[in-house]
């Protein structure tokens, strides 16, 4: 009985803790306390770079998509799988980013 109660307390506590961490990060990003300046620009020229923009878009789309699928998968006994083609697309995007960064920032 007590052990089960402890488990329930941990469940609620870890959920609240995780949400608090996310809120803190988001709040500090939004308020500028975590530096986000220049995330899409080259280190050398300071110009907007396409390889950075495409990786940001692919990352956000992929992450939001996985979050939606994952949360609608509640009750399952496994994390939702990622199709190989999507993984390859992500790999290509990240490869393009690294190549662009190597070539000129």
């Amino acid at each position: 009985m007590i052990i089960a109660g402890v488990g329930t307390v941990i469940q609620y506590a870890i959920s609240i803790w995780f949400c608090c961490i996310l809120i803190t990060l988001f709040w500090k990003m939004a308020s500028g306390e975590i530096i986000l300046a220049g995330i899409l620009q080259s280190r050398r020229s300071g110009r907007l770079k396409l390889h950075r923009l495409q990786m940001l878009v692919v990352t956000l789309v992929f992450a939001i998509g996985y979050l939606i699928v994952g949360l609608s998968h509640a009750g399952g006994s496994t994390l939702p799988n990622i199709p190989k083609l999507m993984l390859l697309a992500l790999l290509g995007s990240q490869g393009a980013y690294l190549t662009g960064k190597y070539k000129g920032g």
């Binding site: 009985m1 007590i2 052990i3 402890v6 307390v9 941990i10 469940q11 506590a13 870890i14 959920s15 803790w17 995780f18 961490i21 996310l22 803190t24 990060l25 500090k28 990003m29 306390e33 975590i34 530096i35 986000l36 300046a37 220049g38 995330i39 899409l40 620009q41 280190r43 050398r44 950075r52 990786m55 940001l56 990352t59 956000l60 992450a63 996985y66 979050l67 994952g70 949360l71 998968h73 509640a74 009750g75 399952g76 006994s77 496994t78 994390l79 939702p80 799988n81 990622i82 199709p83 190989k84 993984l87 992500l90 790999l91 990240q94 980013y97 690294l98 960064k101 190597y102 920032g105």
Partner: protein, 132 residues
């Protein structure tokens, strides 16, 4: 239902471990919130030495100014880590047991971490002046 000596011992240990872990979690959260753990450079990488030197000359300041810039590789690593950790946490709480992680999800985290490491390597290589 607790029965016997060892039942009380195990309950005390469970409560003790829970309190210690919760205490650590709360301490980390408070430190993050009040700035004891500085998050300013969580996503930033050090300035390009050439740009820093140019700004130093332009500003006439003997101390090199700090020109940090956010890193996209750090940002995507953070996003993927939190998304997968969050989904895993939700599914575990729903199922009441540890859920399985497919190979492709592990691969995704590997790709994300690999990109971060490669990005750091590229930056270190481009910042190092060529040897004569």
């Amino acid at each position: 239902m607790i029965t016997g000596f060892w039942g009380y011992i195990s309950a005390a240990v469970a409560i003790g471990i829970t309190l210690v872990i919760l205490g650590m979690a709360i301490a980390v959260l408070i430190a993050l919130f009040n700035g004891t753990i500085n998050l300013k450079y969580l996503l930033a990488e050090p300035a390009d030495p050439a740009a820093q030197q140019a700004a130093q000359v332009a500003g006439g300041n003997p101390q090199p100014p700090e020109i940090p810039k956010a890193s996209l590789s750090r940002f995507q690593f953070l996003i993927f880590t939190f998304v997968i950790a969050g989904v895993y946490l939700v599914l575990c709480l729903e199922a009441g047991t540890l859920v399985q992680i497919p190979d492709n999800v592990v691969l995704l985290l590997g790709v994300s971490g690999g990109t971060y490491a490669a990005s750091k390597g590229i930056k270190a290589a481009t910042d190092t002046p060529p040897a004569n």
